[in-house]
């Protein structure tokens, strides 16, 4: 008996169901759960979508577990998908319950779906798409992830719900026409509620601004297409009587991919600077209107404000934030061609 005390409830890996994606939608006061479980079989035959409804996420998961032939193990869950209407309504409750339950890793990606989940799961699991792991591979940094896609794990969403000064964006996807999944930009999440949208290009800029070093492409209108090789950003802040100001220096290493009309490197650099400044300006105005601090600008002013003042950061200070962006570009490589 003492020998069994530790291991009587251990289940071997082939007796566990390992879902890779979970869809959650909220309809008429009930949660509906979709679990995307790769089939464990000799021929590696595709994926199984299991649905259940319940009064809470955990009771719905329990329902599935009860009806399945193996134990449901959510620890390998990589993606949680919620539908758009649910995201507008607010995700704070399910994020709380996910963090609390400890069954789901806090590193799981949070994703918003642009279409009803029924349809989404039916279409991405079309056997012609592949082996059924597309939704998993799509968000893997070592396979399908692109810098135009936001990358937000559950713990960041949880942080944004409870922080005065930090909001997040979640990737928005839907099933694609020719590919399994199609990226539709990202959704701005403020205190767990979706309040606006960003396009794919804006998401790239958001990623660059947040210091994620990446290799996205930027088109400088009419002049050239540049590939980002490396980027880092430095911030300096100044608080001048309720008018927060931020000076950012963005260092970019780029490679020129296309050039039209023989532009000089100087022109390209100048164009890139104005382009990025204009885009950032637009992006900032947009998010300031929603009062969601997705760049975490407030983080830099935590030293200057008291806790009570910070509580009003989003409403009183954030709309007045000014960002002065300076772009220092190094054209590392002109694509094996000499530019004038």
């Amino acid at each position: 008996m003492t020998m069994l005390s530790g291991c009587w409830d251990n289940k071997d890996i082939n007796h566990r169901a390992l879902p890779i994606a979970m869809g959650i939608s909220y309809q008429n006061g009930k949660y509906k759960i979709y679990l995307d479980i790769p089939k464990v079989s000799e021929r590696n035959a595709g994926i199984q979508v299991i649905t259940a409804t319940g009064d809470s996420v955990s009771s719905a998961v329990d329902n599935i577990s009860m009806n399945m032939e193996s134990q449901l193990d959510l620890l390998h869950l990589k993606v949680i998908i919620v539908d758009k209407t649910f995201a507008h309504r607010g995700l704070d409750e399910i994020v709380d319950s996910i963090i609390r339950s400890r069954h789901v890793s806090p590193k799981t990606m949070f994703v918003i779906c642009d279409e009803p989940l029924d349809q989404f799961f039916k279409r991405i699991n079309n056997p012609s798409n592949g082996d059924g792991n597309e939704i998993y591979d799509f968000f893997q940094k070592n396979s399908g992830w692109n810098p135009e896609i936001a990358y937000t794990p559950v713990w960041k969403v949880f942080r944004s719900i409870h922080s005065y000064t930090h909001d997040v964006v979640l990737p928005v996807i839907q099933s694609g026409e020719t590919t399994a999944i199609q990226s539709n930009g990202s959704g701005i999440l403020k205190n767990g509620k979706m309040v606006g949208r960003l396009s794919n290009e804006q998401t790239l800029l958001y990623n660059v601004f947040n210091g994620i070093s990446l290799d996205g492409k930027i088109e400088v209108t009419g002049k050239a297409t540049l590939q980002l090789v490396n980027s880092h950003i430095r911030h300096q802040t100044k608080l001048d009587n309720k008018n927060p100001e931020m000076y950012c220096t963005l260092h970019l290493n780029v490679i020129i991919l296309d050039a039209t009309g023989h532009p000089s490197t100087k022109e390209i650099k100048l164009e890139l600077q104005t382009l990025l400044q204009r885009r950032l300006e637009q992006l900032l105005q947009k998010v300031q209107r929603t009062q969601a601090d997705i760049f975490g600008i407030g983080q830099h002013f935590r030293n200057d404000l008291t806790r009570t003042e910070l509580a009003n950061w989003r409403t009183e200070y954030y709309p007045h934030v000014k960002i002065n962006l300076k772009v220092i570009t190094t054209i590392r490589n002109t694509g094996n061609l000499k530019l004038p």
Binding site: I13, N14, L18
Partner: protein
């Protein structure tokens, strides 16, 4: 000559007992010995030649006779024991003087040859054998040092055996030497013919999982031990040097490493450390990851392991124990098998059995890989005693991992480290890497 007659009676049933008269000039000598231990024709020539030339030159025969060997008392027991030791006994019939002569011995050992248990790359290849003298020859030729001290002890009352203690006066830890000689001298009456009896003389624990001594067949390893201040023991008829105490570094370092360029010698040491960790951890890690903590694996790996374990009826721990058991049986069987059929059985055991076990869905493919890796890695450490330690302690980790997963594996390693830290040999900690100052 009652004593000589008693000796004759004592040995009368021995087919190898030789007892003959030797007449030189006017004197008669009686010569007795065991021809199984003595090369008689050569010895007789050796004895007769000086006596004859003395007779021709008209010298005093008795003086020459006493100069041939050592005079002993005319006593039955003394003579019997000398004869048993392989000495030639010569008696001058007229005076009753008894001389014990060191004869030309019958060869009773193989010649110095290649090591059988210990392989090496790039070092000297002549190995110790059963004969104490040739072992001493090897040791002396590898270590021509004035500080080399050799003490010989004769153990046992009825069943005698000789034990030789070698050390270097300069480097040996004096407290080690004291305890060693004290324990040896206090137990001179006990019989020592194997390592277990030696261990009981030194009062090593019977349940120790770690070897307290290393055995080496290659003289360079014994010499390294002497240079590093350790003691080397030879027991007659055991074809290796026993090195006291054994330290953890013996698991990873051998003298022959020094014959390689330093980078490669470090690489070899690191490989041995990796090997010992692999053999300890792999089976436990497999069980932990498969049955307790699959969440640690990447999803792709988890999925492929789950697929490889489809239809496997047993839990991972039973599966692993089953195959490990078979592996141990194979390893033990290989030692017993004659070399002519050994490879065949290994092949049947390794390939056919392994493949059949997988095909029969008794165990998963991955376990075969894990097991092969662990078994091969087990052989990387230096010294087979050390590989026994690893072989046994991997089961501790395996069982703890089955209960507690990765946490159990870790706590098993901690327990193992604590145990090793507690082992002492003749006052010297097993984990001693550098000798404490003042030693």
């Amino acid at each position: 000559m009652a004593a000589i007659d008693e000796v004759n009676v004592y040995f009368s049933s021995y087919p190898d007992f030789v007892h003959q008269k030797l007449q030189i000039a006017s004197e008669t000598f009686t010569i007795a010995g065991l021809k199984s231990l003595i090369n008689f024709p050569q010895t007789m020539y050796m004895v007769r030649d000086p006596l004859l030339s003395a007779a021709i030159n008209r010298l005093e025969l008795l003086d020459i006779f006493t100069g041939l060997g050592q005079a002993i008392a005319l006593d039955t027991n003394t003579i019997i024991s000398e004869i048993s030791d392989g000495m030639l006994i010569a008696v001058h019939d007229a005076t009753g003087k008894v001389i014990s002569i060191y004869p030309v011995p019958q060869p009773n050992s193989r010649s110095i040859s290649l090591p059988t248990m210990e392989n090496n790359v790039g070092g000297s290849n002549s190995a110790f054998n059963e004969d104490l003298n040739s072992n001493l020859v090897l040791l002396r030729s590898h270590l021509n040092d004035n500080d080399l001290r050799i003490k010989t002890y004769s153990f046992g009352n009825d069943k005698k055996n000789t034990v030789m203690l070698c050390f270097s006066e300069q480097t040996i830890d004096p407290t080690l030497l004291d305890t060693l000689t004290q324990k040896l001298e206090a137990n001179l009456n006990t019989e020592i013919s194997n390592l277990k009896e030696l261990s009981s003389v030194f009062q090593f624990s019977k349940f120790s999982l770690v070897t307290h001594y290393m055995t080496h067949e290659l003289p360079q390893n014994a010499v390294r031990a002497i240079k590093n201040g350790r003691a080397v023991l030879f027991i007659e008829r055991l074809p290796f040097a026993i090195i006291l105490p054994s330290l953890v570094s013996d698991m990873f370092i051998t003298e022959d490493d020094l014959n390689h360029p330093p980078v490669f010698s470090w690489m070899l040491k690191i490989l041995r450390i990796i090997g010992s960790l692999t053999t300890l951890i792999f089976p436990g890690l497999y069980v932990a990851l498969v049955s307790v903590n699959p969440d640690v694996l990447r999803f792709e790996l988890a999925h492929s392991i789950a697929r490889s374990r489809l239809d496997v009826p047993y839990p991972a721990i039973i599966e692993a124990l089953l195959l490990l058991g078979i592996m141990e049986l194979i390893m033990e069987a290989i030692i017993r098998l004659p070399t002519s059929i050994g490879p065949t059985v290994t092949m049947v055991g390794g390939i056919v059995l392994g493949q059949a076990v997988v095909d029969a869905k008794l165990v998963s493919n991955l376990l075969i890989i894990v097991l092969a890796a662990a078994t091969i890695a087990n052989a990387t450490v230096v010294g087979f005693q050390n590989s026994y330690t690893l072989r046994l302690s991997k089961y501790l980790l395996l069982i703890l991992s089955a209960f507690l997963g990765v946490l159990g594996l870790l706590s098993g390693l901690v327990i193992l480290c604590a145990y090793l830290a507690g082992v002492r040999t003749l006052g010297i900690p097993y984990l001693q890497l550098i000798r404490a100052k003042g030693d």
